[in-house]
Amino acid sequence: MDKKISVVLIIALLMTLALAGCGGSPSEPAEIETPDNSQTPVAEEPVSQDGGNIVMVVEQDIDYLDPHLAAASGTEEILFNIFEGLMHPDSTGAVYPAVAESYDISDDGLTYTFTLREGIKFHNGEPVTIEDVKYTMDRIMGTETGTPLRSELANVASVETPDDSTIVFTLNQRDSAFLSNLYYAKIVPKTNEENFNTFPIGTGPFKFAEYLPEQRVVIEKFEDYWQEGVPHLDQVEFRIIPDREAALLSLQLGEIDMFPRLPIDRVAELGEGFKTIEGSSNMVQLMPMNNNVEPFDDIRVRQAVNYAVDVDEIIEAVAFGYGRKLGSNMSPVMAKYYKEGLENTYDYDPDKAIELLTEAGYPDGFDLTITIPSNYQFHVDTGQVIFQQLANVGIDVEIELVEWGVWLERVYQGREYQATIIAFTGKLDAYKVLNKYISTDRTNFFNFENAEVDELMAAAAQELDDEAAVEMYKRVQEIITENAPAVYIMDPEFSIAMKENISGYVLYPMYAQDMSTVYFE
C-alpha cells in the first residue's frame, strides 16, 4: 500500500520536473513548437448596438482621480471619459465647445466670452451652473488660496460671470494656446469638493464607479450625457497590468477586450478573433545630451553622436521596424506643425562622426554614461543598441539604470547627467511640445540655449494668425536639428488590438481612450 503511494508521489514529482525542464537541453529545438495561434477567444454573447461591458488594459496606475491634480498621461487618457472642460479635444486634436455651447473672441485676442451649454448635467444629476464653472477656474488659479493648482490658466487676468450663462476671461497677453488649455480646466461641481479624489464627478460620457489602486478603474455609462447617441457601452473597466506579457496572455485568453499600444510585431501572436488599428503614438523618443557638460558643450561632439547613431537600426532592433524616424522634436502626427525632411539631416555616417570627434579634440572617443529610467524596457533596449553603435566610433558607453523617481529628480529636474534616453508624450498644442527648448524653461533639461528659438517661441505664443505661428514652430524645429541638443530617434507605432466584434474606436493624437464611440457589432 505505501509502496504504491510512494511510487505515485515520485512519479508526480518527476513529472513536474520533467515538464519544467521540457526542451531542457538547448540543442533540442524539436520540442519547441510555434505558439498555437488558432484558438479563438470565448464567444461574446450576442449584443445589440448599445450596451455591453469592455475591459481595456492599461499599463500604468493613475496618479490622481482629481482631474486638476492629475498630470500623468496614463491618467489623462482615462479621465478623458469622465470630464470635460469648456472646450474638449476631438480626434484631430482640435478643440470644440463642450461644457460651453459657444464662444466668442474679441478682436484684440484678449477677451474670451463663453456661453454655458443649456441643460448640461453633472453625473450626480445636478445641473452645471455658471458658479460651478467659475469655481473650477478659481480652484485651478488658486484665487482664494494664492497657490494655483496648475499653470494652464496662468495667463488669465480675470474671470467674470455677468449672468447665469456667461463667463468672460480676460487675458494678460494674447495666447494662441488658450482654447486648448481650457481642456485641462475640467469642470467639476462645487458640491463634490470633499470627494474630488475619491469619487470624482464630471460631465463626460461616463461616470466614475470604482478605483482599486494598482488593480482597476471602472467607469459606467452616463445616461444624461449632453451629446445624443453616445456612449454605447454600459461599463468600461481599465485593468491595470504593468507587465505586457501578462496583459497579452490575458487578451489571448479573452479576459481582456482591448489592448492599446500593443507593439505591432506582437500582433501576429494574437491569432484569430482580433482586429487591430495601427497608428503613431505622437511620442518623441530621443537621447538628450546635456549641452552644458563636457564633451557635449561642443556642438561638433553632439553632431558626431548624431552621425554615429543609426536610427534606422534602432527602429528595426527595438521596435521591429514599426516607428517613424524623427529629426527634430515633433512627431509627424502633428501634421500641421511637422517640419518635413529633418529626419535625414544626420544620416548614419560613422566616418563623418570620427572626423567631427577628431576636430573637437576627441580622436579616440570618450567615456559616456547614459542614464536610463529602469522601468522603461523600450529605452533600456534602445540604450543597448546605442551602446554598440557608439562603440564603433570609439565612444565607450556605460548604461546606468535608475529608478523613475531618481531619474526625474536627478536628470529631469536636477540636470545632473551626461546623456539619457526618454520619450515625450504628445501634446495638443505645438507650443507645449517645443517650450522645453526655451532657455529659461523649467523642463529644458538639455540646457539648450538659442536666442532665436526664445524669440520665435515668445512670438508664436501670442500669434493669433495660425499660419504665421505654424511657420515659426517649423523654424524652431530646424534650429533644434541644426544644434543637435539630442539624438532624435522615433515616434513608435503601435496598434490597438481589440476583439473582432468591437467597433467605433477612434485614435487620438494624444493620450486619450475615447470609449464613448465604441460599441459591439
Partner: protein
C-alpha cells in the same frame, strides 16, 4: 503570562527600532514623491500644490513625529501615492498574499510530509536517492524561472490556468484560486524540497531512538510507529522551516508577484519605496514585522502542542 508580556514588549521594541531605521533611510534616500507621482508632464504649479497637500514641504522629522502620534491613536496615516489610508491599502492587498500563502502551505504539507517520510523509510534504497536528487533540484531551480516555465506550459500551451493577473475573491472564488494556482506551485516547490530534506534527516534519527525499539518490541506495526509517533516528534524542525517560509511569503514574494503580475504585498512594497511614500513604507514595514512576530508566536504554540515538555519562554 510572563511569556506573553515578553513577546509583547519585544514586538513594541522591534516596531520602534524598525520605524527609526525607515526614518533614517528616508533622510538619505534621493527622490521627491510629488515629482515621482506626477511625472514629466507636471507643471511647477501642480508640483508646488501637491507638495503642500502631501506635506512633503515639511521637514521629515515633523512628519515622522506626526506619524508617531497618529500610530499611537491607531491611525497609520494616508499614503502619499494613492491618497488612501495606509491600512485600507494594505488590507486590499492582503487577500492575494494570504490566499497565496495558504495555497502554497497546503500544497507543501500535502506533498512534503508523505514524501519526507517515504524517503526516510526507504533510507538507502533507490527511491531515497531519487527523492534526494529531485529535492536538490527543487531547491536549485530559481523560482522566477520555475514561474516562467509554468506559465509557458500551463498558461500558454495547455491553457489550464491563467498565465498572470489576479481575479479578486469577491468576483469568483474558483477563478481566484485558479489564478493563484501556478504562483502557489512556484512558491511551494522549493519549500517542499527543503521540508523533505529536513524531515528525512530527523525521521532517520528518530527511528534510531530507544522509544522506537520499545514500540517495536510491543508489537506495534511499523506504519503505526512512523505516523503516530516518529512523525509527530520529527515535525519540530519542519514547523520552524515552514514558519520562516510563511513569514517571508506574507512579507510579499516579490519575484513571484513580478512573474505572475499579481497585485500583492510585495508589489505594494516596491511601489511604496519607489514613490518614496514615507507613511506607506512605514505601514508596510510595521505590517511585515507584526506578521513575522505573529508567525514566530504561532510556531512556538505549535511546538508546545507537539511536545508539551517545551516551555514557552
Amino acid at each position: 503570562m510572563l511569556y506573553f508580556a515578553r513577546r509583547f514588549i519585544s514586538l513594541i521594541v522591534t516596531l520602534v527600532v524598525v520605524s527609526m531605521i525607515v526614518f533614517v533611510l528616508f533622510q538619505i534616500i534621493p527622490g521627491d514623491p510629488a515629482l515621482t507621482i506626477l511625472g514629466m508632464d507636471a507643471d511647477e504649479a501642480q508640483l508646488a500644490a501637491l507638495r503642500a497637500q502631501l506635506g512633503t514641504d515639511q521637514p521629515l522629522i515633523n512628519r515622522y513625529a506626526d506619524w508617531g502620534r497618529g500610530i499611537l491613536k491607531g491611525d497609520a496615516g494616508q499614503s502619499l501615492r494613492f491618497s488612501m489610508p495606509v491600512t485600507s491599502l494594505i488590507k486590499s492587498r492582503l487577500p492575494v498574499t494570504l490566499l497565496l500563502s495558504i495555497m502554497a502551505l497546503v500544497m507543501a504539507v500535502a506533498i512534503a510530509i508523505p514524501l519526507g517520510v517515504i524517503a526516510a523509510r526507504s533510507h538507502g534504497k533507490w527511491s531515497d536517492y531519487v527523492i534526494s536528487i529531485v529535492t536538490q533540484l527543487g531547491m536549485a531551480i530559481p523560482s522566477f524561472w520555475m514561474g516562467i516555465i509554468l506559465i509557458l506550459i500551463f498558461g500558454v500551451r495547455l491553457q489550464w490556468f491563467r498565465a498572470g493577473g489576479y481575479v479578486p475573491w469577491s468576483d469568483s472564488p474558483i477563478d481566484s484560486i485558479k489564478s493563484l494556482f501556478l504562483p502557489a506551485v512556484a512558491i511551494a516547490i522549493p519549500v517542499i524540497a527543503t521540508i523533505v530534506r529536513y524531515l528525512r534527516t530527523t525521521v532517520i534519527e528518530q527511528l534510531k531512538l530507544d522509544y522506537v525499539r520499545t514500540a517495536y518490541s510491543k508489537g506495534l506495526s511499523k506504519k503505526n510507529i512512523v505516523y503516530r509517533h516518529v512523525l509527530k516528534n520529527s515535525l519540530i524542525p519542519v514547523i520552524t522551516v515552514m514558519g520562516m517560509i510563511i513569514a517571508s511569503v506574507l512579507g510579499g514574494s516579490l519575484v513571484i508577484e513580478q512573474v505572475f503580475a499579481l497585485p500583492g504585498i510585495g508589489r505594494l512594497l516596491v511601489s511604496s519605496i519607489s514613490y518614496r511614500d514615507f507613511y506607506l513604507v512605514q505601514g508596510m514595514v510595521m505590517y511585515i514585522a507584526v506578521a513575522i512576530i505573529m508567525i514566530n508566536f504561532l510556531v512556538d504554540v505549535i511546538y508546545k502542542f507537539l511536545d508539551p515538555r517545551i516551555k514557552l519562554r
